[in-house]
Symmetry: C2
Subunit: 155 residues, 2 copies
Amino acid sequence: MSKIHPPAELDGAALANSLERVVSLLRRLALADGISQSKATTLRTLETYGPCRLSELATLEGVTQPAMTQLVSRLELDGYAERRACAEDARVVMVHLTPAGADLLRRRRDARAHRLMELAERLTADDRAALAAASSALDRLVAAHHTDHHRSTPT
Amino acid sequence: MSKIHPPAELDGAALANSLERVVSLLRRLALADGISQSKATTLRTLETYGPCRLSELATLEGVTQPAMTQLVSRLELDGYAERRACAEDARVVMVHLTPAGADLLRRRRDARAHRLMELAERLTADDRAALAAASSALDRLVAAHHTDHHRSTPT
DNA sequence: TATTGTTATACTCTATAACTATA
DNA sequence: TATAGTTATAGAGTATAACAATA
């Protein structure tokens, strides 16, 4: 991999450290909105993919089937998701996002975006531009990981 | 990529989504190295700040004192940290990183950096440059958050 | 009395193994 | 027999409240 890179060489260690710090930051911001990371990412997956089989959801989230059974039960108690039967196969449980769940995602996303913008206002215009440029690059980085693992991941 | 960027307005919602996806990605990469996020970030804090009081560590990690008591106990069982008495104040427990803990951090960091570089190789040179530029901007974003919390800047 | 830390208890989230129901 | 999901059980990680030891 000896290619000619543009000015800025990517330092994996530096990026790993920066991302770890951001992860810690976002984890703490998440605690404030009263829903766990597990619940939030599962709801996001339901929003992205639409109604899913429970086992499919478990695979997408990278957890076991029993773990997803319990997580979906908690989401049902919260009113954010619901189980429905599958007409074609009586063994299958389809998990649906409820309107309340969709609302929660929207509010959570708005709050997070707002907080990030607050923080970004304290940065220089150059830093803000760098973050804007990195946003889509980060998406593609994540997509590269998914390609490795699933070979076909629409997102 | 054209070197001439438009004003590049930062979209908080887009960045929040991108970062959330990266968080999910890193969480899964973390599972592979056999240590929990809680343990890892606590060890990193010890590495950064040096030996800490247990209560100080709890504050830095944003968890309660009882939670840190248990976490430190688990880290001691793992051999990654240890409690020591404080000569000046017998109530105080000082928590130290062990050599094994420092080793673990180094290996973890190397593995993560390596994995990120693997993924980055699948990106365009422009995307890699964008990530490189964003790395330090992300650090400053996190620093802005810390400033808010440690200097009691009202929002 | 205030502080530092631990213990007691309970809830979330996860895993593995054993089970039920359906195909 | 194989698949989809649940139940049983155990352990990590967290919180609040009550406690012990020291200042």
